[in-house]
């Protein structure tokens, strides 16, 4: 490696989805995250880079992991942070999204990290307000930082992403994680297979260039990495019709227990975006298995989010007094 660092910047002003990122952007984010990963292992895990930046975390939908991860990332970059969640706010009084955000921006906020139940909310916001937007999940559309940290975790575990066979199991229909993961993994040259009940598989999903395999055991034998999506209980049966008969039946057909895992006959890496429904997508023995990188995903999430915020903040013009 050359000792002289190259200087680069992101091609995008916001992180709205993986779709808007180039391969170079993703690689730049990964390289920057490598630097932050080292920072996170220091006794003092804090750097002053974003000390003149204020970030608002707007969570219109419940979240634990992502919100804590973003907040830690922001604090470790020395940014000022304000948190907002929709319960107990003016949103319940009927204020529009743009009004809510503009009121917050009037208090001099530079960046907005937003989770919203409606697909496209982040894109919409980026067109109407003067702030850098980071999409922390918009409905069933995209969840770019999750896809980045998933691919980053695969890169860390396997040494590369190109050519790795990744199986995504479960609720693809409702999953923003699945869609962002497909885009991200394909950009980086991985092969993607989907497996799950046909009721949870979007129609024409093959047109994205992924393989759909209904047989779970066949799919497991094919893959190097299995990403077990969470069954989104809160989004099931929205049209009054259940997507599968029962959680027990789902667990029998698409869940991964230790016996099924041993029968694969090779060391498949287990991933899960969390929160885990233990006993549904994976059993405890599999979730806590030596080949599970579920907690590495969480750890890498902070470094990836620091990298994204750092690179986006670098593009904010400085106000000269």
């Amino acid at each position: 490696m050359s000792p002289v660092p190259h200087s680069e910047q992101l091609s995008a002003e916001h992180l709205l989805g993986i779709k808007g990122l180039s391969v170079e952007d993703i690689e730049l984010i990964f390289r920057t995250a490598d630097g932050f990963k080292e920072v996170l292992n220091r006794p003092i895990k804090k750097v002053p880079s974003l000390r003149d930046i204020t970030i608002a975390n707007l969570f219109f939908e419940s979240s634990t992991r992502t919100r804590v991860s973003f907040e830690l990332a922001e604090k470790r970059l020395s940014a000022d942070v304000v948190n907002f969640s929709s319960s107990g706010s003016s949103v319940s009084k009927g204020e529009t999204l743009v009004d809510t955000v503009n009121n917050i921006l009037a208090m001099k906020v530079d960046m907005v990290v937003m989770r919203h139940p409606d697909p496209g909310a982040a894109v919409f916001l980026s067109r109407h307000v003067e702030a850098r937007i980071v999409n922390a999940g918009d409905g069933t559309h995209e969840h770019p930082t999750q896809a980045l940290l998933d691919a980053y975790s695969i890169r860390q575990k396997m040494g590369k992403v190109k050519g790795v066979k990744v199986l995504i199991v479960g609720d693809v229909l409702h999953s923003r994680v699945a869609l962002s993961n497909i885009f991200c993994l394909q950009k980086l040259g991985a092969e993607v297979m989907l497996c799950g009940p046909s009721t949870l598989m979007p129609r024409h999903i093959e047109s994205l260039g992924v393989i759909v395999e209904p047989d779970m055991d066949k799919a497991l034998r094919w893959c190097d990495v299995a990403n077990m999506l969470r069954i989104q209980l809160e989004r099931q049966g929205g049209d009054g019709v259940a997507n599968f008969p029962s959680l027990r039946e789902y667990a029998m057909r698409y869940g991964l227990d230790l016996e099924r895992y041993k029968n694969i006959g090779k060391e498949v890496v287990i991933m899960h975006p969390g929160p885990i429904n233990r006993g549904v997508e994976v059993t405890s023995q599999v979730a806590d298995h030596a080949n599970s990188i579920i907690l590495d995903q969480v750890e890498n999430g902070v470094a990836i989010r620091m990298a994204v915020l750092y690179l986006l903040a670098a593009r904010i013009p400085r106000t000269t007094v």
Partner: protein, 197 residues
């Protein structure tokens, strides 16, 4: 751009030797001393010093680390494109250690300020000294000075000093580049290069 050699290969070797003996003079067999090179260019000097010290003392030398200061720089968002981070390798605590910070060129002092800031994330050193191969005095923007200096250079604003290494550039030497008076505006200098920012 006319180039003027400040240290030729032979003088370079002698200067390196002198810096080593100065360190030994102050620190004996270097017990409790940590040598920390600053990324990206200071590490080449630090690696060389470490090797040379090892040869002179005749045993595995001191604690050694490499520190990246990218996230501690004070010019984040002042430059158009953010500098990309290099690798930090410092796997011991600096608590109570005598740290010798190593960089190739001391210019405005801002890199060293960031380096001091970054160092403190690794503990509370007993003391911190600065060793540089080239000290461009009269160019300081902060009250920072080096304890050990290879060579002092009185240079004016739009000149550039580059330290070249056998490992990466083909030969050990230090070169002063003078800008042609015409044509170049002074802002192009403000961008700096890795060698003298």
């Amino acid at each position: 751009m006319p180039a003027f050699p400040l240290l030729t290969t032979k003088a370079f070797g002698l200067t390196m030797g002198r810096l080593c003996y100065q360190l030994i003079e102050d620190h004996g067999d270097m017990d409790g001393v940590a040598l920390v090179g600053l990324q990206p260019r200071g590490i080449l000097l630090a690696r060389r010093l470490r090797k040379e010290l090892q040869r002179i003392i005749g045993r595995e030398v001191l604690e050694y680390g490499e520190l990246d200061i990218t996230f501690h720089r004070d010019d984040f968002r002042h430059r158009a494109i953010p500098p990309a981070p290099s690798i930090t390798q410092l796997d011991f605590s600096l608590d109570g250690r005598k740290v010798v910070l190593v960089d190739d060129v001391l210019f405005t002092g801002r890199t060293i300020r960031a380096g001091l800031d970054a160092l403190l994330a690794f503990g509370r050193p007993a003391s911190v000294q600065l060793l540089v191969l080239i000290d461009r005095r009269f160019s300081r923007e902060l009250p920072i000075q080096a304890e050990y200096v290879g060579k002092w250079v009185d240079s004016i604003g739009d000149q550039r000093v580059t330290v070249e290494w056998k490992e990466t550039d083909g030969a050990d030497q230090v070169v002063l580049h003078s800008a042609e008076r015409d044509g170049r505006d002074s802002t192009s200098f403000a961008q700096g290069t890795s060698a003298d920012r």
